[in-house]
């Protein structure tokens, strides 16, 4: 699993870390049941604050990608297909916002497709 950080990027560091983990899951470099590196270890290797990594992990947990277990750290639980689906959804939403659609508009469009 390769995680890259651009410190001069407008994208927040924790989001870059989360993107790296998602990509690694999509590319099947890590799979369900695999343990992610400890937050402290990853923070040290990337030269960032440990809370930045923890924030990335918390976001991934809220998305259902990983689970935080006491004593075992962060473990991947998200199915690859589901993670992939969420990633494409996120891209669609970003596109929609870029052309000026509101959240309500996006939901309406989605409902139309369904």
């Amino acid at each position: 699993m390769l995680i890259k950080l651009k410190t001069d990027s407008r994208i927040p560091l924790h989001e870059q870390i989360a993107t790296g983990v998602r990509r690694a899951i999509q590319e099947e470099q890590v799979g369900v049941g695999d343990r992610l590196p400890a937050a402290r270890e990853l923070a040290r290797a990337l030269d960032v604050n440990m809370h930045t990594v923890l924030r990335a992990y918390a976001g991934l947990r809220d998305e259902g990608v990983i689970e935080m277990r006491r004593g075992r750290g962060a473990v991947v639980i998200g199915e690859v297909s589901r993670v992939q689906f969420r990633a494409s959804l996120r891209a669609v939403v970003a596109d929609a916002r870029r052309i000026g659609l509101s959240d309500a508009d996006i939901l309406n469009e989605l409902q139309g497709v369904l």
């Binding site: 699993m1 390769l2 290797a45």
Partner: protein, 322 residues
């Protein structure tokens, strides 16, 4: 290979078979001069404290050497493996032969096993060292110190990490299921032996076998912009770190464990290898020092990041210019 070298190799190859037969026949040939049961175990002061039937001693040592010898004959055509199998059979032949010789001389012409002479830990230690030296000699003679046989696949890769980016690569790999199964079986066996309070020798040898196996069932690796770190086995011990400052290039290679003489931590001429399974791995090229070979899944990512870091620091050296 000249005739003399051929003859000595033949001797190395066939003599263990002769030793296996002698180990079985010799004690039986002089059984009239030995007590039955005879002393087979001594305490730390060298006094006999265990006994067994004569045939047991003869069979155990002979069969152990015979099995190792058959493995040696079967692996003789496999590069590298022959030197390890040869070292093993000769180590066993000297150890078993010496133990049997000491056991017989301690029991010779005694009425009962309690009257047997002493066999202290000093002699046992000398025997182990002697067997180790002979094993090492055989290993050297059979080409155990050959060069790193790993073949680089394609040019040194890149992971697309650019100047100003921080990056980390983490990866792992696990041994084949059969290997993991054997390691677990021996571990369970040693736990059972400890619980059943089998003889310390049995328990200790099982533990000594189980520990290195558990050490090599899996491997975890991390590449940061300063070092490559490897954690071995389920305990993460040993943990070794190789600073990038000594590395000039990382290559993806196809690792064939048998070509390195097996699994685990292997030493070949010019390289040190951490081998958990066959297949893809990385080679860290270190001028003036031994290269490092590590089996990891997603080797291209690991090697790519190392090369990118070296590239941004201006220290990368391509294969043809090194």
């Amino acid at each position: 290979m000249n005739d003399r070298a051929g003859a000595s190799t033949k001797l190395l190859l066939w003599l263990p078979g002769v030793i296996a037969v002698v180990l079985l026949v010799a004690p039986l040939a002089i059984r009239d001069r030995l007590p039955d049961p005879l002393a087979i175990h001594w305490d730390l002061s060298g006094a006999p404290n265990g006994f067994g039937p004569l045939i047991l001693i003869a069979l155990v040592s002979s069969v152990a050497v015979a099995i190792a010898w058959v493995v040696f004959l079967r692996t003789y055509r496999v590069e590298m493996l022959q030197s390890h199998a040869g070292a093993m059979v000769w180590f066993l032949a000297i150890l078993m032969g010496g133990m049997e010789a000491f056991t017989i001389s301690a029991n010779l012409d005694r009425a009962t096993w309690q009257d047997a002479g002493t066999f202290g830990p000093g002699r046992a230690a000398v025997l182990v060292v002697l067997a180790g030296l002979v094993g090492f000699g055989v290993w050297r003679v059979l080409g155990g110190n050959m060069s790193d046989p790993g073949v680089a696949i394609g040019p040194a890769p890149s992971a697309g990490v650019e100047l100003g980016e921080h990056a980390v690569w983490v990866g792992k790999t696990a041994a084949a299921k059969g290997f993991v199964g054997i390691a677990l079986a021996i571990t369970v066996g040693s736990a059972v032996a400890a619980v059943l309070r089998l003889t310390p020798v049995v328990t200790l040898s099982l533990v000594v076998t189980a520990l290195p196996l558990l050490m090599f069932v899996s491997l975890r690796a991390r590449v940061s912009n300063t070092a490559v770190t490897v954690w071995m086995g389920i305990f993460g011990v040993p943990r070794v770190s190789y600073p990038l400052s000594r590395i000039i290039r990382a290559e993806v290679i196809d690792v064939r464990p048998l070509a390195y003489g097996g699994w685990g931590y292997r030493i070949v001429k010019g390289a040190r290898a951490w081998i958990v399974r066959r297949g893809e791995g990385i080679r860290l090229v270190r001028p003036g020092k031994a290269d490092i070979v590590i089996t990891v899944d997603g080797a291209a990512g690991a090697a790519g990041l190392i090369n990118d870091v070296l590239m941004t620091e201006g220290r990368f050296v391509a294969a043809d210019s090194s």
